[in-house]
Each structure stands twice: as structure tokens, then as C-alpha cells.
Symmetry: D2
């Protein structure tokens, strides 16, 4: 009988659905050493959490996340709440000896993130941050190419996360636009993703300088039809330097009309270049300088073959997978970590480092100068 | 308590995996009126079928499909065997009063397909053929545009299903290349899919003329290292006329290097055109003649929004789905049909019609002339 | 002093403009052994031909093409008239010892084309047919790859020439839609181009079967506001077999909305595949089976480098050329042929062979069966 | 008889070829009010300049540009020399009452550019800077859409000019990499182009902050096989703010492998977005928020129709033009300006403004802070 990992999830909206699905599908596609069990889901609204448990397949519910942490029959706490609750829940979970999976960004501040990382480290439990886009087969394959030296020294990364879902001035204030709940706007929500991809593929940031903008400064509030102030960024752009000498150009915005979910990057190295775009996430474009003269050009590699990371778990070549599979792949690593007793990357140390860059960008946008990302 | 539909599946390889997954995921994404239960799976090899049942999540196994049909606790027989078994199993299932889902192509011959359609009709049970590509949101949206008259009178369809998995002459003879098991080669396997898409989007065929080719005429046989004759087509192309006056150009091949699974079509009408490609299956390209002068061009519509058929069941706009979701969508229709007592299209009548075109193409390739597709 | 080739051009509309420009630009980009001189242009309408001569840069005019052929100061007759005049002019030019460049298709019928080819052969002068698309650098590079064996044995060509300029039923009857003037419609006009590309890249046709359609059967006549019958095809599709065993699927239509000038092909061989599209004519997509596993995919090669045929005559890598340059490249071959005394391909023998396929397609469309393309 | 504009061109390499060609082709495609005459070309190397004159079609030569300016039979001085000579020649030309066309960037410094702009203004002659990419039909059409309010308030521009021609460390030091001759590296050479496009399409810059990098700091010197220091940037990136509140993200690099000439931008506005890429320069991608729900997506508009700026001068829809036509279009404006007595944009005032941004970027890269672009 395989080891079971009994999960208690806090929150149940968009990310709760994505996580629930990944737990369910994991044993179908993979043969994990540890098998997740959808033990309990917590949410303040009893009707809401029960409906969610029913639809998403959880065995029981709680209306107080503290109760979830107290339960003996829970091994892993999965945090899919708004950002301002991450720290308190994660630290409590760590102190209770639970493994932890936390949605990104890890925290509201570097200070919080550092406390979380320390708590998890002291607890000695397994911890991960849910930067799922790393786990697209095409991105993992990009990583392999870079690690194998196929691109040589890295000169450039340019990455954009472009969305357009709040461009309508009448789109109401939601929690993702309120600083006390979310920390920052586009930066922390989607900028954190491309920043994680950059850390994964290029390496550590050493300095950043950025700009932030709120194009629509007031919005209707859903509750009571009054208008409220938007105190986070609609868009953020920043320049960066990396330890290995690479230059980075980053942009995260919710005001790029026509880009529903345009998470894309290009990396240029001494020997080759790669491009990726989430909207056609199964493809990786690769240029190799070593190709013979006249035959050089970006290849569109459909990363659905046995040799592409994780792809063999799914369908034959040419049969694409989608958004949800990035979670399944990440969860396969989490289960492996729990079975073997280590915290796979991206873990809380990655989340902390990510937070340091996010905070560096915010500080640079305020000061107008470059901010060093210190070694901690 | 919702109605349950207890499924017995015959076969468990590639299609068995796709179907099993779809049954499992259906209630998660949809709220179906009838809920499938993975009751039993049948296969001749006891070890094989038990391992499959375990991995895919079936409650019990049989080593003889006839036993499956005899069982009282099975409502729906799902046939994912090689093609030559479809008829016998489907007819037996119908006679036993079971609902039936059958993989494509429906049969080896029109005669078989006609017997199957009659048996199902007489039994009065629900029947479908698993032409899953119809159920990509982008294809369903294309159908809606056509039905709404957005393309006007249809002039052209050109459709290709291009693969490359058997180009290596040392790739062994598999059942999909043996006439007695499969009926035809590229034609029946992948040609049947684009033919179904054409019937769905453009309408009924009236006449065809085609050519078939076997480029590699002998291959190693896996079993015993001798070479065997390939007696089906590696590639088939055909011209067609439709009831509504449209012209069709079709090509199905397993010798189109670089096309892992290139199922694509373009349809041109009086008022607009559409293009679709399975490898980026979430996109539909649409051209509208009504767009103002100078602003005309193919739009790339990312069919992941609430308004796109089935898309709302999954993730927010811009988050793509993949191959497996075409099955989930089809199965949602099947469950609706079972709950309400009708056979959603594509059902056995569609499968028969499809078979008539397949056979017409084969006969035209032999005779060198056009074959009328009779009204039956 | 370089040899001069004094050109007399018959006709001066769209093709007259393209040819005039190519003569003018040729010595700028190339260093041709023979230099064209724009000596005289002929047209029936005195005002029209004089205005054209003035705008396009011709030194003198004639209102009767026969007079042009009689002139001693003309070395090369360039025929850009409607198709029904090609034969008479070309034969007269040959008999007068002139070199000849003729627009495509060479003639209205095979019989005409054969007389033209014989006349030119007997005259011993240089002759070419203006199939300009062969001369896009990307197409020439494709030819080189095929000749070098990079694709291996060819299995497939699928080629389409898709336009949409007469879809409006009120678009008037023009000469390109009148059989006595043009021979056929989409087939001879644009089908002839893809047929030439197929002969150039894949080899000789051995048999064809086709279908032709006139979607709009009556149109306004520009002259007198009455409606006239359209007696040529709006669209033609055909299947083909080649001497080397390849299969071909072809389609030429003026009813493919959104395709302004969509001349595109894909060729699949044993070792690789290529794709080309006139609308982005500087690119060639190449797939090589020899690429390492996991790294296979179509490369987009921007054929603007020194190593790409003709590209070095123009601009640095990445600076694209356009439609008009295909003529300049062809004309560079014509001048080389005249300087050295041979008729570069595509010459009248190619034009005849092309005509045989065109006529084969028409006959097959009438008979409903395959037509062999005899060796002559 | 049309007015003639007798041109004297200083320099004759890559840009000299592009300009010469544009002068020659202009009267063929357009009917300009003033017609350029290729009167004289100047260069220090007598053999070189005479060979160029012969190949490019100039009537006479000079070995000293000062002599060219002294000649009475020259109306327009065209400066295609390395950048460090622009100012001296342009000022001398202005003082001699000549019209002036100057390659970009206008000067080495703002101070120089300002002197040039003043000299031209005082002389009252016509002046332009050769920012040719503005004149691609797709870019002009983009401008029209923006001016017509089709994008609404502009939120973002992200523009990249990516090249890869000096990535090989053994590529020798050329003038474009030497500060005293070129001013800056990637920034002034290609960054100046995207900066001009941004000014043209979005408006005036108000502040910038940038970073510059020299990846290969020493290179062989062609002359004498010793290595020399590279004292300009291989790559520059910068953030920007615009008068209208838009955010800009820019990157110019010669180290982006696989990008031969990747000049591309995306602009997002309140009501729509546009994208353009020089490598497929005939296309403009346009997204309109006003499109009906479900039908929204980027359209690929092939800007080759009569309604697209300048396109009508060339070929029918779907027949693409290339790099060289951007010069022809610009030159048509220059001739119009000379005929009517005004300096079309981009003129020296634009060149000055461009230089101010270039210098701002350099200064910000040194200081690490934002630099305001003053109103002058």
C-alpha cells in the first residue's frame, strides 16, 4: 500500500479548484510514491465551503483554518487564500509539524516571507510555493537546454506577463487590487511568476530598477456601489541585472488589451535562444547558433514527446496538455519530496528570494534608483 | 442523489486511458445530470486488464467482453477495441439493452456499420461514436458561427490530418496497419476524423474521388522478427462535393514529417473564413468580410472565454485546455443523452454516414472515378 | 561595354509594370552580363501606351505589336498580353529571330503551346516563361535542399493558391474570367503557378484528376451594364501523381476569403519537410528528421542571408525583399541565358509541360476520371 | 516638365545603396512633384566612389564632400556617412542653402544635433532625418488608427530592436562599435529607430532610466590584427514615461541570437492594441476591444491594399513589398516637402528630440537614476 498524504486545503476559489483537480488527477497520470487524499477543505462561509467540497471532492470541511491545523488526520496544509493570510497560516502549519504548499507570492513582505521560511525550516517539514508555470514541459525542457549548456552564457531575458481583465473602468475593486490583502497588484500577482521563471532559467537577480503605474485610480466597490481607491499597481516594468551578468527586462500588466494571459519570455545566450508563450504553452521555440549556415532559424518544438519532461505521463506526441497540467506536474514533485523528505524547488527559500526582488522593484519605483538584491 | 451510469469498457490502451480519464474528470468540471461510474473494464489478458483497472480506476475486471455485457450492473458499454471488434460487441450490447459509446471509425465496412446502427435503433438505447475533435471549444464555436450564418454560403473546405509516427521503415507492423483489423490505414484512422469535422461543419458529402498510397510496403513484425506486408494506406487524399455545393479537399497521411498530430482545416464562405489546427487547438482563426475595408484580416480568437462552448467549465480566459478535454466535453453530451433519452450527434447514424464516405473514397481509389455517396 | 539587350514589350498593365520595374532594377542589384534596354512598348491604345511608356520608362511606343517585331532594334520580345495572344506573338517573334519572354500560362491549349515551343526551338533563340515565384530566395533554397537530398524521397506535396478578389458577385467580368481570352480561370491563372512550383521542386506529373467549379455564374459586364456568363472556373482542385511516386494535392481558387494572395505549399519527404507561403515569402520552414530527438521541429529560416540564392544581391540579413524581386531574379537568369546562348528553365518546354497538366486537369474534370500526362 | 532635385550624396556603402535605389525607383512608383536626379556622389577613396557611382547610377563623383556642397548643380545633400561626420556636413550644407537628408541618428550629441537643427532652420531649407521604418505601410496605418482614436488612451508601448550580427567574439571592431565615430552602439544605431517609432506613434518622452552593457569588451581590429577595446554598448534597455501617461519598455541589442533584424513593438491602448514586426513588415496585428464578445482577437492585417498608406503605389493586394520601399516612401515625402517648401517629419527637430532621449538614456545608465527629457 502506498503512502498517503492527507491534505487540508485553506480556500477553495480559482486556485482551490486548480489544486483539487491536480490532487485528483495525479495518481491517474503518474505513479507517485505518495498519494494525496482530499481530506478536508476550510473556508469561513459554511455553505460555500460545503458546496466546494462537494464539487471538488473533499471528504470534510472546516470553517476555521486553525481547526484544520489542529486535526491529526492532516499531513499537508495547502494555502490558496488571499495573500495576506499566507504567513499566519503557514507559520501555524509549520509549528504544527505539517507539510506546506503555499500559493504565490509567498507573502506580503520580505519580513513575512523570512519568518515563514524560518518556521518551515525549523519545523523540518516539506514546503513548496506554487509557481506552477515552471512545470510546463516546454519550460522544463528549456531549463534542461540551459543546464546542458546549449545556450552558453546567458546575455538576455525579456519576459512579459500581459493580461487585460480589469481594463474596463467599471470592473469592480477585487481583493487582488487591494494592497492590504494582496501586497501589490500586477507585480505580485503575475510579475512574481515571470520573476520565478527568470530565477529558474537564468539565475539570481542582483539589482533592479522599476516603475509602477495605476491607470484607473478609482473603481466601484462590489459591496455597496461606492467607489474605492485602487492602491496597487495596474502595471509594473523593471530592468534587472543577474549574478551571471545577464540583463533582464520585465513587464507585468493588466492593461494589455487582447492578451488574456500572455505569459511569455525570450532568453538569448551565446550559443542559442529560446522563446515561450503560455497561450501556446506546449511549444518551445529554439534557435541554435551551431546549426549550419543558411539553416539557422527558430524551431517550433512541440514538447509533447516522451523525451520532454513530464510529457510521457500524458498522451502520445502531438496531443497537447493545458494549464491544469502544470499543477499536476508540480504536485508530483511535492509528493516525491514528502515521500523522500526534502523540499523541492520552488520552496520557501525560493519564495523568500522572489519576495526580495518584488520588494526591490517596489522600493526602486519609489526611490527612482537601482536597488541591490542582497544575499540575505 | 444523481442518476449513476455504470460503465463497462472493452479495451484499455490509449483510448481506454483517454476515456477513463474523461469519466473521472467529468463530474469535477461539469454538473452532469447523470454521473458515470467506472464499474468494470474488460480485456483478454488478465494481468494487463488488472493493471489497467488499478491505474485507471475501474472497480472490477473481466477477461471476456461477453461477460461484461451479461452483467446487470452495467448500463453503458464503451468500446475502445481495435476496429474489427466494434460491430460484434456493439450489436451484442444493443441486444442486451445497453447504451453504447464506440470509438471511431464505427466499423470496418458500411454493411457492418448499417447493422450496428439498426441494432442500436431497435434497442432504443443511447449510442454515440467518439469523434472527439468536434468537441474542442474552438470547433464548436466554428459550428456556431456557421449556423448563425456568419460565413454565409460555404464554398470550400480543405482539411488535412497529418502525422508522421510510422515514417521509419523499421517501425513495426501494428494493428492500425492491418486491413483485417483496422479496415483501412490513414483513411479510417485519421481521415475519419476530418471527415466527421467536415460533416459537422459543412454538411453531407454527395460524391468523392480519391487516391491511396502505401509508401512502405513491408515492415518488421513485432512478434517474430519476420517482415509482413502492409495492406492498408499510408496516405489517402480525396476531392469531394457537398450537398450545399461546397468543394472539399482532404488529405490523411502518416508520412508528413514534422506533423506529429496536424489535424487542421480551413473553411471559406461567402462572408468569411475560419481556420483551425489541433496543435494549437484553443485558437480559432476567423476572417469576416464584413469588417471595414483595410481592417480585414484573420483574427486569432483564443476560445477560452465564458462565451465559447464548454470553455466556461474549465478555467478563466487565457488558460488553455488540451486534448483530453475534447473527451470530457463529448462525455458531458453522452451523459445528457442518457439522462434525457436521446442519442446526441455524432451517433451511430453519423458513424454510418462517415463509413459510407470512407468506403466511397476506397472504391474511387480502386476505380479511378467519382463515387456518389447515396442517401442510403 | 556590356552587351545590351533591347527589349520590346507587348502589353503594359499589371505585368507590364512588374516587368518594366525588373528591367530597370536588374543592373542596380546584379552585375548582369547582358543589360536590358527598355526600347519599346506596344499597345493598341495610343494614349494608354504613351502614358505607360512615360511612367514605366520605355524609350518608344508602337500601337501594333507586329511593328515591334519588325523592328531591327529589338532583341527580346516580352509578352505580357492576355493569354489568347501569346501564341501568335511568340511564334511571330521566334520567326523574326527574337528572344522571347512570355507571361504564364504559356498558351490557351497544349496544341498552341506545342507550336510555340517548336517555333522557338527552330528559331534557336532564347525563350522563357515568366513563372516568377520559383525565384523567391526561399523557394530556390528549398530546391537546393531537395537537390542535395536533404528531404530524401518525396512523399507529398500539397499546394494551394488562394485568392479572394472576385468574391463579390458584383465584381464585373474581366478578361481573366473569359475562356476565349484566358483559357481557364483560377486554374490557368494561379493554378499554373503552383503547378510550376511542383514541377520545379518535386518533378514531373504523371496523372491527375480534378474538379472545377464556377460559384458565381453571371456577372455584370463593365462595358454596358448587362450581365455576362462566366465560362471559366472560379476554383479548381486536383489530385496528382508524380514520376517519383509522390502524391500531390492542389487547389486554386478565387473564393477563399481573407487570402489575398495565399500561394503556399508543404512538401514532405523521407528525411524532412518544408513549407512556404508567399504572404511571408522570405521565410522557409524546414523540418529535419535528422535533428536530435526532442529538438525536432519546423525551423523558420529567414532566407535573407548571403548563402540563400539571390539574397546576397540585395540587403543585409533580416532585411526583406518582396514580390517584385522574384521578377528581378528571373530576369537575371534570362539575361544570363541571352549572354551565353541557352534558354534557362522555366522555358517554353516547361511551359508546354505545364500546359499539358492544366489541360489534363480540365479533361479530368469533364470526364470524372484520371488523365495520364503523356511524355509527349 | 517636372521640377528636378539634383542630389549630392556623401557616402556610398549600405545606406548609400538604399538611398540610391530609392531615388531611382521613386518616379517609377509615384508621380512625385519633384523628381530626384542622381547628380553626384562623394567619397574619399577615388576608386571606391567611382565604382559605386557606376553601380548605383550617379552621374559624377567627388572625393571631398566640401566640393559637393560648393557645386551649384546640387540642390539636396544626402548624408549617409558614419555618424561623427553628420554635423559638420549638415551645417555646411545648410549654410550653402542646400536641402538636407541625414541618416540617423542625427548626431553624436544633443549639442551637435541642436546646432544642426538651428543651422537648417536658419537656412530655411528642407531637412529630414532618415527614420525609414515609420514609412512601412503597416506602421503608417498604425499611426492612422491611433490618430483616429481607435486605440483610445495609450497605456503601453514595448519595443525591441534585436539583432545578432556581432555575437561572434571574433567579429572585428567596425565603426559602428567605436564611440568617437558612432556616439553609441546598439542604442544609437537601432535604439534610435524604435525610439523614433515610439515618438511617432505614442508621443513625446518625459523621462527615462536605462542600463547599458558591453558583453564582448575586446575585439580584433580588421586593420592590423591587434585587439581593440569596444567602448560602446552591445545592448541597452530602458524604461520610459510619456507625456500622455503611457509607460514604455525598450530594448536594443546586437546579442539576441536568431533575431537577424527583429524590430518589433506592441502598443496597448484603452480600446485596442497593435503589434508589428519588421521581419514580416507587411502585417499589422490589431486587437479591438469593440469587437463583439467571443470574437475578439488579434487580426493579422496584410497592409497591401489600396487603403493602406503608400501600398497603392506598388502592387495589388497580397503582393508584398520589402525593406527598400520604406525608403521610397520616405523619399516621396521629402520630394513633396521640397516641392512645397516644408520639412516633413521626421525632420531635424525630430532628430534633436530623438537625440535628447538617447542622451537621457546614456546619462541615466551612468547615474542609475531617472533623467527628465526637458522640453528644450
Amino acid at each position: 500500500m502506498k503512502r498517503q498524504v492527507r491534505v487540508g486545503m485553506v480556500g477553495y476559489k480559482f486556485m482551490g479548484k486548480a489544486h483539487s483537480h491536480a490532487y485528483r488527477d495525479l495518481p491517474f497520470f503518474f505513479e507517485p510514491e505518495a498519494v494525496p487524499v482530499l481530506q478536508a477543505v476550510a473556508g469561513r462561509d459554511r455553505d460555500g465551503v460545503e458546496a466546494a467540497a462537494n464539487q471538488l471532492g473533499w471528504a470534510s470541511t472546516e470553517t476555521d483554518w486553525r481547526r484544520l491545523i489542529e486535526r491529526d488526520d492532516i499531513d499537508l496544509i495547502d494555502i490558496v487564500t488571499p495573500n495576506h493570510l499566507h504567513a499566519e497560516i503557514a507559520i501555524a502549519a509549520a509549528e504544527a509539524g505539517k507539510h506546506i504548499l503555499c500559493e504565490k507570492p509567498l507573502a506580503l513582505t520580505v519580513a513575512e516571507a523570512r519568518r515563514m521560511a524560518r518556521a518551515a525550516e525549523q519545523a523540518g517539514t516539506v514546503h513548496m510555493v506554487c509557481h506552477n508555470y515552471r512545470f510546463a514541459p516546454a519550460v522544463q525542457f528549456a531549463k534542461k537546454l540551459i543546464d546542458d549548456g546549449r545556450l552558453g552564457r546567458i546575455y538576455h531575458i525579456r519576459a512579459q506577463y500581459l493580461q487585460d481583465w480589469i481594463m474596463d473602468p467599471n470592473f469592480p475593486l477585487v481583493w487582488r487590487q487591494r494592497k492590504e490583502v494582496t501586497g501589490s497588484g500586477a507585480l505580485g500577482d503575475i510579475g512574481a511568476h515571470i520573476l520565478d521563471l527568470a530565477r529558474f532559467l537564468v539565475g539570481e537577480f542582483t539589482a533592479v530598477t522599476g516603475m509602477m503605474e495605476t491607470f484607473i485610480k478609482e473603481r466601484p466597490q462590489a459591496e455597496d456601489d461606492v467607489r474605492g481607491e485602487v492602491d496597487v499597481d495596474d502595471a509594473t516594468a523593471f530592468l534587472a541585472r543577474f549574478e551571471n551578468g545577464a540583463m533582464g527586462v520585465f513587464e507585468a500588466t493588466r492593461f494589455a488589451g487582447g492578451n488574456r494571459n500572455g505569459n511569455r519570455f525570450e532568453i538569448n545566450g551565446e550559443k542559442g535562444s529560446i522563446r515561450w508563450d503560455l497561450e501556446n504553452m506546449n511549444n518551445l521555440e529554439v534557435y541554435l547558433e551551431e546549426d549550419e549556415k543558411g539553416m539557422q532559424g527558430f524551431r517550433t518544438i512541440h514538447c509533447t514527446e516522451e523525451v520532454h519532461p513530464y510529457a510521457g505521463a500524458y498522451w502520445p506526441p502531438g496531443h497537447i496538455i493545458g494549464y491544469e497540467h502544470t499543477f499536476i506536474n508540480l504536485f508530483s514533485e511535492l509528493m516525491k519530496g514528502i515521500a523522500k523528505g526534502y523540499s523541492p524547488s520552488p520552496n520557501f527559500a525560493d519564495g523568500l528570494r522572489n519576495q526580495m526582488v518584488l520588494e526591490g522593484v517596489e522600493r526602486s519605483a519609489q526611490s527612482g534608483g537601482w536597488i541591490e538584491i542582497s544575499e540575505d
